[in-house]
Symmetry: C2
Subunit: 215 residues, 2 copies
């Protein structure tokens, strides 16, 4: 790779995006020595995250980077509005044509679906939204990360870190990805075992389903 131009990586922002969907992959991919990461948003001005507390000031708009090598599409409560935003969907559809990898985190998969990129493909998303992937002609898989080259989809929110490490390995080799994992000290030790509906207590699963329905 020496002497080659850097890998250009575009991470999409939009109002209502989940902050960790963005920053998990961001923190991994900005540590790739051979990559140039940019954070893009439609139009100009600030972007507010899904929790409504964090405000970003993206320096680039979508039209400034029509042809990244890698696309990262995060999810979040704002994804349905984003799926109806022609500027976003058309940018994604066009950029995918020349990208080496198009990826999503959590319900970012719905944006890939809206751009017509998931037809016939294996894909995943947040466990609460998995069934909705069939609306886009995808074949849902309840897995942490699904690679259906050149598309990689990740499960809910925190799975973006695992997805990005997988992607880093594909882009720069296993040793580069392992070094990034170590620099992030990503040796997770959750204090509970409730990270998946298969391992969480049934009453916790019911509780999260109920909250999701009223949102």
């Amino acid at each position: 790779m020496s002497g080659a131009s850097p890998i250009s990586i575009a991470i999409l922002l939009y109002d209502g995006v989940t902050a960790l969907d963005v920053v998990g992959p961001y923190e991994v991919l900005t540590r790739l020595p051979s990559a140039e990461v940019q954070v893009l948003a439609p139009g100009h001005g600030t972007v507010r995250d899904g929790a409504g507390v964090m405000t970003w000031w993206p320096e680039r708009s979508l039209e400034m980077l029509p042809d990244p090598d890698v696309i990262v599409v995060p999810g979040g409560p704002g994804v349905e509005a984003a799926c109806s935003d022609r500027e976003i969907v058309e940018w994604l559809r066009a950029a995918h044509q020349t990208a080496r990898w198009t990826t999503s985190v959590c319900t970012g998969a719905m944006l890939l679906g809206s751009a017509g990129l998931l037809r016939g493909r294996r894909a995943t998303t947040h466990w609460l939204a998995l069934d909705r992937l069939t609306d886009y002609g995808a074949r849902p898989r309840q897995r942490r990360v699904v690679v259906d080259e050149p598309i990689i989809t990740a499960a809910g929110v925190s799975a973006g870190i695992d997805m990005a490490l997988t992607l880093a390995g594909r882009l720069a080799g296993d040793e580069a990805a392992q070094a990034i994992q170590l620099s992030l000290e990503y040796a997770p030790r959750p204090p509970y075992t409730s990270g998946s509906p298969r391992t969480a207590p049934a009453e916790i699963v019911s509780r999260v389903r109920a909250i999701a329905q009223v949102r």
Copy 2:
């Protein structure tokens, strides 16, 4: 807790902070039903992260929230400058006096140390910086999360998620924390086992140490 005022949580931003140190805890704590999270920075204007690509626009400055219930101090390449910033260190020292919990992620522990909060306490930080904790009179522990009430410190970068789930359990009970873990689908499956110097290949550990020295 019903009827009580919400738990006020302050997450500190400063130039050169590591984005995931901020957003890991942010994503957990904004999901606490009984909490109000605010993102604070010294002065006014934008804040740039340690990778130099992401720009935040914090809406509050430190003097606007002198007495949060919970303080979260992230780390990053900018932490040394932050440790020399009197506004930050004095805010932290004063705010700690009335806080229920004061916490750090990664090298954010150095800020706690600079404010004199770690003397005689068990604490952790990024594995590369662990020895430096003794400069502040702390007793270093190579653990993911160290609770020495009312201070909680976390290991490098990604450990902020585990720290925040631990904190969420203390603030709102295990069931609330488990529901947050499930909503984030935090069932991590790193594609490699290189997240700790104890499990990474020796050549990867050497490589990360070498990169850290030149930075």
